[in-house]
């Protein structure tokens, strides 16, 4: 306990000195730091903040030091996160490398691969994208057909991915490929390659929100060095599934209203008072008030459940059945939250662009549209419910 207190004091002092004041303000979505070869820093402080945090390994606090991580224990990391939250620090780096690939590499990659890729993720030097879904393989991911042939001294990849988020901006891809067409799950391998390789093409797709974060990605005779295979040939499905768990955890966090909560928009009750009006200090519409209360109560119950699950894991009781519902519940909750914001703000949340609406309002409209993808990406809600029915409840096919 004493050691932790000392650690907290050190962190406090370090953050005080090293976190630039502009990095302690709410972050507009366009200022998110994704890193990579072509990293763009709208705010120069953002680069400073990233470099300082990365130098201490605190962009990946719990990864081992030998791979550039912070080497912190779970408890130390908790303290770090608390202190970061306390000063409202922006995340220094957002990246699929940190959230998804890194943890999977730590578990499944060989020493050379870890040394090669992990430090670059920690420092935000290489930006990764996820090549899982294909036109014919969405929910039924194991049906993927992107072909990968052994050509002696290299692999040759041919096929197409779709919905590849940020494929047009990413430097490298972690990609599921078919190495044995005669079986399903046991013929999939987990491959890493450079998006600059000849034969790779990413075509952005416009989303309903107007943004183009995801792409169709085509591979035509892409040569991949054999050392880029993670794990054994045809054993990629295990890695793929584990990585999906990390992805789902990341997406579940949206249920807490943290991510994309609508920059500059206050609490639900404040939004209601501002946009709908109040009588005697209370929200004027009893029905809206009730909707807000339902949302707040469910959010609280969800947050407590995530906390309980974390405490159970810490007490050595395993991840627990509760964690199986997080992706489903968290994303549905986030969607409901945006629907409610729309109701509270009326036509002010229905603008598309231009001077008629302020940035916060446009952000709500766009984020509402983007939120619809939460219950699709990373495994749809229906697929999550299937998983709970079969794995947790033991119901048969």
């Amino acid at each position: 306990m004493e050691a932790l207190d000392k650690f907290r004091q050190e962190i406090k002092a370090w953050l005080e000195e090293n976190c630039p004041p502009s990095m302690r303000t709410p972050m507009p979505e366009e200022e998110t730091v994704w890193g990579g070869r072509n990293a763009r820093f709208t705010n120069p402080d953002a680069k400073l903040w990233l470099d300082r945090m990365a130098a201490r390994g605190w962009t990946a606090p719990t990864w081992p030091k030998e791979y550039g991580g912070g080497g912190l224990t779970r408890d130390e990391n908790l303290v770090l996160q608390q202190e970061l939250r306390r000063i409202k620090a922006r995340p220094p780096l957002s990246s699929f490398g940190l959230w998804m690939l890194g943890p999977a590499l730590l578990e499944f990659a060989n020493e050379e691969q870890k040394k090669e890729h992990l430090p670059k993720i920690v420092r935000g030097e290489i930006r990764w994208c996820q090549g899982y879904s294909e036109p014919g393989a969405g929910s039924d991911l194991a049906g993927l057909q992107t072909k990968c042939e052994d050509k002696g001294d290299h692999y040759l990849v041919n096929g197409q991915k779709i919905w590849t988020s940020y494929a047009d901006k990413a430097d490298w891809i972690f990609c599921l490929v078919r190495t044995d067409p005669t079986t399903k799950h046991d013929g999939i391998s987990f491959l890493l390659f450079d998006m600059m390789s000849p034969g790779v093409e990413a075509r952005p797709i416009t989303m309903i929100s107007g943004a183009s974060p995801f792409c169709e990605t085509f591979f035509t005779d892409v040569k991949v060095p054999k050392k880029n295979l993670v794990g054994e040939l045809n054993k990629g499905w295990t890695i793929a599934k584990r990585l999906l768990q990390h992805e789902r955890e990341m997406i579940s966090g949206m249920g807490l209203g943290g991510v994309g909560a609508g920059g500059g928009i206050g609490s639900l009750e404040q939004v209601a008072k501002d946009y709908f009006g109040e009588t005697g200090g209370r929200i004027a519409g009893p029905s809206l008030r009730d909707h807000i209360t339902r949302q707040k109560m469910d959010s609280k119950a969800f947050a407590l459940t995530m906390q309980r699950s974390a405490e159970e894991a810490k007490a050595g009781q395993g991840p627990g059945a509760a964690s199986s519902i997080f992706k489903y519940y968290g994303t549905e909750l986030n969607k409901r939250r945006y629907e409610l914001l729309l109701e509270l703000m009326g036509t002010r949340a229905l603008g598309w662009e231009g001077d008629g609406f302020d940035d916060g309002e446009i952000n709500v409209t766009r984020s509402w549209l983007r939120s619809k993808g939460n219950s699709i990406e990373g495994g749809t809600s229906e697929v999550q419910l299937n998983v709970v029915s079969k794995r947790v409840l033991g119901l048969p096919d």
């Binding site: 929200i283 807000i292 209360t293 109560m297 119950a301 969800f302 407590l304 159970e312 229906e382 299937n386």
Partner: protein
């Protein structure tokens, strides 16, 4: 924050599980109902519960209690909820025991708490006056009369009212019908002249009564807490009851879920078990998620009382609103998934549904608690 049980608490839960499964299974409630049992609960079992320390679970060792605290009581109530065990835990331990603990003077505590812990006294709180929980609106009057008071008014839905050895009556000593101040709690002997108790038979086969007070004389020594200042105590007592009842409802919900899940794995139609139909699977998975959230909320609410947190009112309303709503949903879904069998008295799911509705209506339903939460949070 303690959302994970300690070893001691797990042990207590196991003891409670065994006790209710063996001593008060649901057959016990059926028997009380079918024999029109005069007490409406099993007095022998209640004595055993006090021997196990359940009756004195919130009472300090000084008065013969076990002082396991609110989380402990919640665990016992959850197990009681699983078998729909009828007992004076809510009336006597949650409501009246808490009221005496919070407001009683030394004499009252000594007398009452030790009697409760020993299982020797059944108590009932007479508060409700209409079909909806409304603690802010008390019309029953207590008028000073020399060195005593005279109570007049009528109370309804008094849990365990017809078997109580002693009543706590919520009455108005000052102010208008809806004023928060001016409320006083009185300890009243149910055998006093002018007290008329009528048992009301409820759909859940549990105890409740209507009580008329006609100019009932009580000495001023019977005041519990301060004159006119009863509201503060009452709010705290009610929050404890709301949270405890939520724990009971958690057990009820979990049991209905488990029973339904087992039925889905056993009942065959179209040549396969009905649990293989996705239309039912997704509803069960969604219910599973809701129940996991229920569990977290109940645990947090219980530890909020234990840690004397200042958000007890908020978390009590979250717990009671959620459990009222999910117990309604779960019992409706459970019945539907049992098909025709769910409609029979022979199957238990109907009994769970009936208890769920009475529990939901007790101390504020989901509507009451959402409205209250918004008020507490200032919007």
């Amino acid at each position: 924050m303690a959302l994970v049980l300690t070893e001691e608490q797990q042990l207590l839960r196991d003891t409670a599980t065994q006790f209710f499964q063996e001593r008060l299974p649901i057959a016990n409630l059926r028997k009380l109902r079918d024999t029109k049992d005069a007490s409406g609960f099993d007095r022998g079992a209640w004595k055993e519960m006090s021997d196990l320390g359940f009756a004195g679970i919130m009472i300090s060792e000084k008065y013969g209690g076990t002082d396991f605290g609110p989380v402990g009581l919640g665990l016992v109530l959850e197990q009681a909820g699983r078998t729909l065990a009828a007992s004076p835990l809510i009336s006597t331990v949650l409501l009246c025991g808490s009221a005496v603990q919070l407001a009683g003077n030394a004499t009252q505590r000594q007398d009452i708490l030790s009697a409760i812990a020993a299982g020797d006294r059944i108590m009932a709180l007479a508060i409700e006056e209409g079909p909806h929980h409304n603690p802010a609106r008390i019309a029953t009057k207590a008028t000073p009369d020399g060195n005593s008071y005279r109570i007049s008014g009528s109370k309804t839905f008094v849990l365990d009212g017809h078997v109580a050895d002693q009543l706590i009556v919520v009455a108005r000593t000052a102010g208008e019908e809806s004023d928060r101040s001016g409320i006083t709690l009185f300890l009243v002997d149910p055998k006093s002249e002018g007290v008329k108790i009528t048992r009301t038979l409820m759909v859940d086969s549990r105890n409740a009564a209507n009580i008329e007070f006609s100019n009932v004389a009580v000495p001023s020594s019977a005041v519990l807490g301060s004159v006119d200042g009863g509201n503060d105590v009452l709010e705290q007592v009610l929050d404890i009851a709301r949270i405890g009842l939520s724990a009971e409802m958690l057990g009820l919900v979990q049991q209905t879920f488990d029973t339904t899940l087992a039925y889905l794995k056993e009942r065959k139609q179209f040549g396969k078990v009905i649990g293989s139909f996705q239309a039912l699977q997704h509803r069960m998975a969604a219910l599973f998620a809701e129940i996991e959230l229920c569990r977290s909320v109940v645990l947090d609410a219980l530890s909020a009382i234990e840690d004397r947190r200042n958000d007890v009112p908020q978390i009590a309303s979250i717990a009671k609103a959620r459990l009222s709503e999910i117990s309604t949903l779960m019992t409706n879904e459970g019945l539907q998934m049992h098909g025709g069998m769910g409609m029979t008295d022979q199957f238990d799911v109907g009994l769970y549904m009936k208890r769920a509705r009475v529990a939901a209506a007790s101390f504020g339903d989901a509507n009451f608690h959402r409205e209250r939460y918004a008020t507490l949070e200032g919007y």
